[in-house]
Amino acid sequence: MSGGVQYPVRVIETEALSPTVKRLRLARRDGQALPPYSAGSHTVLTLDGGTRLIRNAYSLLGSTLAGGAAYEVAVLRSPQSRGGSAFIHDHLTVGTALNLSAPINLFPVNRTARRHILVAGGIGITPIAAMAAELAALDLPFELHYAMRDTASGAFAAELTARHGDRLHLYVSERQERLSVRDILDRQPLGTHLYVCGPERMIEGVLADARTAGWPESALHAERFLAPDGGEPFALRLARSGISTVVGEHETLLEAIEAAGVDAPYLCRGGACGQCETRVLVADGDLLHADHYLTDSQKSCGQTIMTCVSRLRGRELVLDL
């Protein structure tokens, strides 16, 4: 099946890390061990949302890098959520059964780098904190910069301070503390790599500053998981399967394909990995590409679409599925 190996798990612990962030601890229902993973990995949770199947990707926390008994994720209640994160906050309790995919890492630590600068904004701390845990365990040089709106929303801040001491730099915008990327990037020795995860605007700003400071592309690493927006409904025809359906207003293209019973490829469900790239046969309307995988020229020639985050504004889309 698409999405790789699936493990049936159940929630064994929940904790409110802040008013908007909930930590889940998940263990296999058959009592078997979960595999170890590298920092930066994510998993896709699949759960029954009542009227629909919810599939969301979450970074795996640094607390369970060794795998074994359980995995942990932290879920932000997203105000733009199409319901997935709100459902997890409101309905998931100890004992709830769900599935998680085998770990996938699209944001790994570069092991040939000599020094690591980790930058996180808000909930973007989840893969970044896992990297800090991995680097600390290996005794490799790193610094961790964590920006947050206010101390209440800074889940993990206390734990990270206890763990990493003066390698951690906190920036609380409520206290007028600003993260200055230029100061951080200044005078870093050769072989330093930069990792950033957070809101889209922050990622763009950090990467732009690094490029302006002459950093080469291979030293820059970012993870942007997009929460796909809804949009106007449109007709969808899957040419090889001979299926016609409709992609609803609050539904993604991939979800509509899955709801029609077609096992289409996917991995990250966030427009990053490229796994769900699908050939477009006819597009009666404009393709709204929202991914970070296709190049601008590939997007404009419109031969393929990433079904997890992109959609059509128009009448009908025909895919080679």
Binding site: R114, W215, S218
Partner: protein
């Protein structure tokens, strides 16, 4: 991030001119100073100096540029060093030879910071050795530009004795360490900065085909 860099485009163009199917065979581009770089370090050997003057003459980057130059082996030509001096860069170091230049490079890179870009031009074996030294000092591969000027001579590692032979102009060649006749393959190690040399007469000792010079 996935858009090909100008370097990459140059490489693709070169690829069509060099029809080797071996993917590790290095491809060289054309030096072009990176505007955003905080510091430029230029390594040139022999005729490589002309690539440097072509790329840097009159460029704003010169105020932040250090050039390390080594004359071509056995060459008494002083013009390349004079041409480089006429660029008026921040610092010019004329080395007595490649060993001296690489030692100077190690010192320079030990205190270099991110934002530094490296430019290498000269014979093929010089580019390989200089790039290998720079990578060992922690610089990222995509912070290095290369342009091939001068001899197509190669640095070769004998797979049997692991010894290096520099300045190899043709294949087969004789290993300078163990004396075996080596077929020089296009297979290349970026870590060592050297091509692979394999005994050519293992099955039929003494049967050595005539040597063929490497193309430019």
């Amino acid at each position: 991030m996935r858009r090909p860099s100008p370097d990459r485009l140059t490489s693709l163009r070169d690829m069509t001119m060099q029809p080797t199917p071996i993917r590790s065979r290095p491809l060289y581009g054309t030096l072009a100073p990176v505007r955003q770089a905080t510091r430029h370090i230029v390594l040139a050997e022999g005729e490589g100096a002309s690539a440097v003057t072509d790329a840097f003459r009159g460029h704003d980057a010169l105020a932040r540029t250090s050039i390390l130059f080594s004359p071509a082996p056995r060459s008494a030509d002083r013009r390349p060093a004079t041409d480089l001096a006429s660029l008026s860069c921040e610092a010019l170091h004329v080395a007595s030879g490649v060993e001296d230049l690489l030692a100077e490079l190690a010192t320079t890179l030990s205190s270099a910071t991110m934002g530094t870009r490296l430019y290498i031009s000269g014979s093929e074996d010089f580019i390989g050795r200089a790039r290998s030294e720079a990578l060992q000092r922690g610089i990222d591969a995509d912070a290095i530009q290369t342009e091939h000027r001068g001899a197509p001579t190669r640095r070769v590692q004998c797979v049997h004795c692991k010894g290096f032979t520099d300045g190899v102009a043709a294949s087969p060649t004789v290993c300078s360490q163990c004396g075996l006749y080596l077929l020089v393959r296009d297979h290349y190690s970026r870590r060592l900065g050297a091509f692979m040399g394999v005994c050519i007469d293992a099955e039929a000792p003494g049967e050595i085909p005539p040597a063929e010079a490497f193309g430019a």
